[in-house]
Amino acid sequence: MSPSVKVEHLFKSFGNTVALDDITFEVQPGELFGFIGPDGSGKTTLFRILTTLLIPGSGSAEIEGLDVVKDFRKIRDFLGYMPGRFSLYQDLTVEENLKFFAGIFKTTPEANYELVKEIYSQIEPFKNRRAGKLSGGMKQKLALSCALIHKPKVLILDEPTTGVDAVSRREFWEMLARLKKIGITILVSTPYMDEASRCDRVALIQGGKLLSIDAPGKVILGFDQPLWAVKTDNIYNLLTDLRRFEATRTVFLFGQYAHVTMKGKLVSGDPITQYLESKGHKQIEVHKTEPTIEDCFMELMK
């Protein structure tokens, strides 16, 4: 089966700033593919090239076998795009927005209603409300409905869950999972590490470079160091002290715990406890923990 999205050696720079540096990846039809990376890592630039809004510096990108530069007109017929910023008409109502976006793709909301039904039915009670007056979660649902109304083959979502509450975020990912089942290829970017596990595969992106592409589980399996979670009464000193400790490899703060990897194999956390006691820490808690995507990301970023 030919890939739905195929990107080869893609470069893009703005002046002296390199935004994308030798990006190569493939996305299979019906795959839910995630891009994870901090702000400014190049996610949006990549998506803007894939949605034919930006011309690549060099390299090639194909959607459904069509080149994003040469065949941009054809691609626009079957592409669904949801930009990071809410970009529907705020002074049109929910229903008018849906009709308008169906209209510019020469279709009607009725024709593809089945596809958006599940999402749209949640905001249908507010269909006469102006889009600008909707809450963040509802805006995202409307934006997704509008991006889907012409039945796209490929859906590209740029940080769809940024600024959305936790419940709406979960609902949103459940919707994406259902769309995937219909066979729509989905590319989604997010700065939230915890959302990575919902993707079939994730690409970690940093400074315009792809660090790794793998299934979320495998990314975690690739983390071969034992990981220790450490907590004491003085978090600030804990970090600086641990970093001074010559036996530690990496120290990162995760919530109330510092996640630590050590040089060499440690069987128990005792050496850490002893070291911290010598530095005057109290209520010391050291235990082994399972790595998360974020740990892997930090590890890869080094």
Partner: protein, 350 residues
């Protein structure tokens, strides 16, 4: 926003048509009469007659009168020197002095002309009176007749120009704000990834304003007819025909500006720049004929100048299409160029 679009032009038409006038109605005159004779009083009473002169006061010395001029209480000072009557009788000639505040140059010129006229008139009377009989009056008399506006009615001349201005503001400003607004709020992204064609997008941006502006023109013409009784001698169809083509030109410029810039502020800046230059040079406030040659040449690229000229010609003079074909086709060319530029410059890919 909708009421503003309609209320603003109405207010502008009502205010501007009355307020923007070159007629000077209240000239404050201070008289320095150092002669105090029958003849000097006769001259002063000549100034009392017209309604637009108000004698603010009499002063004994020129210095005191000049003070009034300085503080802005007087516009003009009339000085009748001592021996005015004596010189007139003895030498059959004498002098008076008329001092005018020329802070506002064009107003000063008009006030001066008024004053000179009155003095000339007095002179005429004097000649007839002292020399006796009509035979000494001038051998021929000049009388004027103003065509197409016999009373030199100011509103008749101004209102078509103001209407042109209103239509232009809608055409130029609303359209120049429009595409760039979509850039600012980000909706253009979603439009750009759709299969919609460039010309379709530009047409969609253009037509609403085209209709609004034409409606506005109809509205303004109705008001002009009812309130100002502006003559509408030519065909109204021709007026709207000219206006609809002219609107394509201004909307084209507006949209072109909008595609060039990145923020509404920049669009505003550019639109104002063009609007001010075009309006000032259009002949609305000052006659084009009084501009230097190069400035008149510059009006070849001024759509507002063409439009005002055509509106005045059709409404006041009843010009036919054949009479206005030259400016008309100039505007057509303008419209084609502006719209082509707008469509060409609007990029769906950055």
């Amino acid at each position: 926003m909708l009421p503003v679009i309609f209320v603003m032009p109405v207010l502008q038409l009502l205010v501007l048509a009355f307020a923007v006038t070159f007629e000077i109605r209240n000239i404050n005159l201070v008289v320095v009469d150092q002669d105090h004779t029958m003849m000097s009083r006769a001259l002063i009473s000549k100034f009392k007659a017209p309604t637009f002169y108000t004698i603010k006061g009499y002063s004994q010395t020129y210095d005191l009168a000049a003070e009034q001029l300085k503080v802005g209480k007087a516009h003009q000072v009339l000085v009748i020197p001592e021996g005015f009557e004596k010189d007139l009788v003895k030498d059959t000639k004498s002098k008076v002095q008329l001092v005018t505040n020329a802070i506002d140059g064009s107003a000063a010129a008009i006030m001066n002309a008024y004053g000179m006229n009155i003095i000339m008139d007095y002179n005429q009377d004097l000649v007839v009176e002292t020399m006796g009989g009509e035979e000494f009056s001038q051998p021929f008399k000049i009388s004027y007749s103003y065509w197409f506006n016999p009373q030199l009615n100011y509103t008749t001349y101004m209102v078509p120009g103001i209407l042109a201005l209103l239509v232009t503001i809608i055409g130029l400003f609303l359209s120049s704000m429009n595409v760039v607004r979509e850039k600012e709020i980000g909706t253009i992204e979603q439009i750009n990834v759709s299969p919609i064609k460039k010309y379709q997008f530009v047409a969609g941006k253009l037509l609403p304003f085209w209709f609004i502006a034409l409606f506005e023109l109809a509205f303004g013409l109705t008001l002009a007819h009812i309130i100002f009784d502006i003559p509408m001698i030519g065909s109204l169809w021709l007026v709207f025909g000219v206006a609809s083509v002219y609107l394509f030109a201004t909307l084209g410029i507006g949209l072109f500006i909008s595609t060039l810039v990145n923020t509404q502020q920049q669009a505003m800046f550019l639109a104002w720049f063009f609007a001010v230059v075009f309006i000032m040079m259009s002949g609305l406030f000052t006659p084009v004929e009084s501009m230097p040659g190069w400035a008149q040449q510059l009006n070849l690229i001024n759509p507002i100048a063409y439009f005002i000229r055509m509106l005045r010609m059709i409404l006041l003079k009843g010009s036919q299409f054949s009479d206005i074909s030259r400016p008309f086709f100039s505007v057509v060319i303008y419209a084609v160029i502006a719209l082509t530029l707008a469509v060409w410059r609007y990029r769906k890919v950055s």
